[in-house]
Symmetry: C2
Subunit: 458 residues, 2 copies
């Protein structure tokens, strides 16, 4: 069955874990646009960011030039717990599809946070600890990022305050309890602990919360609590830097076994996984050393790349964060309530936005029932029940493999399997009961979101 001379699962030796992160910005001819201050419209400086972010992380955020940044030993030590992650040859999927394509996936779900988020969480917790801080704050929706951060803070004995969107806090108690088991405080948002929370509760007494509101609360608490800073699990340059570990390991495994990918596929919400997975391959492409077809996959119900505008916009609905230039649906855009599968962010990493704008990668959107179809098939043949987010990449990988079946091409496809779906069984239940529906926003729906994008030309 295994048509290539490679193991089914490639585990690098722990000595082969990359010792530096790779900063793709160093090789970009057009650098990603800087974050700007919403008042002055000037690029955010180190000092501007200090009240909210950790010093070392701000340096990483602003560094467009250093290609390789050494991973501190303490972080490498933690990575050893769950890395290197396997690069798996999807032989059972290939057989089920009857495709001549070779399919591989880099699986980031074999850790208790259940996703790749831990790669950046541990780095951010480490730098906070090194700075002598007492703790960090963050927001979480479904809870993958919050869980990862709780694990990381527990490891470094750092305080961790998580603001969890109220509807998730109540409807997803399992993730909440994982965070609490790791010693994090988890507060349903909007809460009565913050000014913005009290304001929102007063205006909307029955609100079930939103990610935008949770961000605002977490930022307020970080800025007003001594020894605390705010951390974020996606979108930012620093996050893509940390997540480059995914791509670097993938590349090392490919090089070790002579695997030459033609197509690289990742799901894209804020861009943390996709940006990490593709980074060293994109680096080769930017330096003219190799070419790859790189595909971002997003939900049809939240199509930032495929139908968004490339513009400066607010990163959060509460407008407390700096503005970023990115593909955006507008900071007021909220995906349809029927959308179950994560990847709900209105914007996109500035790095990925620039690369996409420059034609260095492509994007496509997929509808959720077809995503769950792919998820079910994958679960049955490959034995891993994927997170709905990851299943967007599976969908696209299957589609590419089926194209190869038609053309007879023996392409090598690599996709990122970001995590497991154990905490997303409510969505699977909808699919199993055949009550899951699709929704594609109309042009009028999108126009409402676009109307909120400020008109800034820098």
């Amino acid at each position: 069955m295994n048509k290539l001379d490679v193991p089914y699962k490639i585990y690098l030796d722990e000595k082969e874990i990359p010792s530096s992160w790779y900063n793709v910005r160093a090789d970009m001819k057009t650098k990603p646009a800087p974050l700007i201050h919403p008042g002055t419209l000037k690029p955010m400086t180190f000092e501007d960011m200090r009240p909210v972010f950790c010093d070392e992380l701000i340096k990483q955020e602003l560094d467009n030039d250093t290609a390789y940044i050494k991973i501190p030993d303490e972080i490498l030590n933690f990575y050893k717990m769950y890395r290197p992650s396997p690069l798996t040859h999807a032989v059972f999927l290939e057989e089920a599809l009857g495709t001549p394509a070779h399919i591989f996936y880099k699986f980031e779900g074999n850790n208790t946070s259940g996703s790749h988020k831990l790669n950046s969480a541990i780095a951010q917790a480490y730098y906070a600890k090194k700075q002598g801080l007492k703790g960090v704050t963050t927001e979480t929706g479904a809870g993958q990022w919050g869980t990862a951060l709780a694990m990381a803070c527990s490891f470094f004995k750092l305080g961790c305050k998580v603001y969890m969107v109220k509807v998730s806090y109540e409807q997803k108690p399992f993730r909440r309890e994982v965070m609490r088991t790791y010693g994090a405080s988890v507060t349903p948002s909007p809460s009565m602990e913050t000014e913005i929370g009290r304001k929102i509760n007063a205006e909307h007494p029955n609100t079930t919360g939103s990610l935008g509101c949770a961000i605002s609360e977490a930022v307020e608490v970080a800025a007003s609590t001594e020894g605390y800073r705010y951390v974020l699990g996606s979108v930012l340059n620093q996050v893509l830097l940390h997540q480059s570990i995914i791509g670097l390991e993938t590349k090392a495994a490919c090089d070790k076994y002579g695997i030459k990918p033609d197509v690289i596929i990742g799901c894209a919400g804020g861009g943390s996984n996709l940006g990490g997975l593709i980074s060293p391959f994109m680096g080769e492409k930017l330096r003219g050393e190799a070419d790859y077809q790189i595909i971002a996959v997003e939900p049809a119900s939240c199509p930032s790349f495929t139908r968004g505008k490339f513009a400066y916009d607010f990163c959060d609905t509460g407008k407390v964060c700096p503005m970023a230039k990115m593909y955006t649906l507008g900071h007021d855009f909220i995906p349809s309530a029927n959308h179950a599968g994560g990847l709900r962010y209105h914007g996109m990493s500035s790095i990925l936005s620039q690369l996409y704008h420059d034609g260095l990668m492509e994007a496509r959107s997929v509808e959720q029932t077809s995503v769950f179809e792919a998820a079910e098939m994958f679960a049955r043949v490959e034995g891993i029940l994927p997170a709905p987010e990851s299943a967007h990449a599976i969908r696209a990988a299957i589609d590419e493999a089926l194209k190869c079946k038609q053309t007879g091409e023996e392409k090598t496809i690599i996709f990122g399997l970001t995590g497991t779906g154990y905490f997303d069984m409510v969505a699977y239940e909808k699919y199993n009961d055949h009550v899951m529906t699709d929704y594609i926003p109309t042009d009028e729906d999108l126009a409402k979101g676009f109307a909120g994008i400020p008109n800034i030309n820098l």
Copy 2:
């Protein structure tokens, strides 16, 4: 930190997956007592078992002599999806405890079933398929075994009917949906589909079900549906045979890296994990080639080994199954409702019972709050949130390591980490909220269970 010259996580090469299971019965001087027919009290023959069990599995059940049984290629092929499982050096736990002991754990949770149950599920599904059957039936409580069987049946395109204890079906919908995603039918038990189910529903209209009742339903359906057989995830000799893969891999990893275990620890419910983990080590002990301290860990609220009787008893409360000689609390014994952590079975594998009776292993019981204390500590330092069942072994391993701290002994301790606790967060929530309580049955409580054990002397 790593005091031994071994990797943090030992992954054997996939070519090093054992090609045969090891049947510890072949080396036992006193063989485990045979299953007997409850009517005739005669040992169950191949023909007696055929209406309910698959032919090849009956052969394995009755085979006390063949030491090594070849693993069919189709099963090895499936094992490749998630095996070899890692043997992890618990350096972070050692450091947190400040112990001179070396602690290792064999982790079986990196698969979607979340536990070691898949090792036997795939074997049982394979033999059912090979026999040309249409499907299998089983019962499940919390759902680990049902999930594993659903995955296995899906792989071989075999029907899978799971009878799930009604209270779990309603309160643990996530596991139910995982099973459905793999195409299994999941029926809350007692159902109206079977004679025994209708009878129990008529007698107890509001019953939330029990494992004993679910077994009876699954056996009835298997015996009355053409092309169906019944399968079971623990207790039976065949299950321990399949689970020997855990111990064989552990032993291979130890031999490869010169690790010499002094103490081997496993949690024990029906005995599937413990029996599998210890098998090759017990084989050496039985053959006089090596000595190990082997410890079974059970909940204080369901203390089959430490407070049970060694006697013939019914394997199920419904008395539809054959009788087994084992350490038992009586087939009517039901652990206190406050007991959250699995391992609720009243009896124990006949193989392990005989080995324990012959003084070849020891047993201890632990209380559940101390188990969750160990679980929390382990989760925080080793990054894996354990299943409550597995945490019984963690508790004992920590206790042994702390003894070494007092004595200064540099013992090597290996324990089995059978699975993850992602579907057990309700129990963790109780622990996090400090409302978890302990209960140790009184002698009077046990006497009630003992009263139901039939008086059979063979």
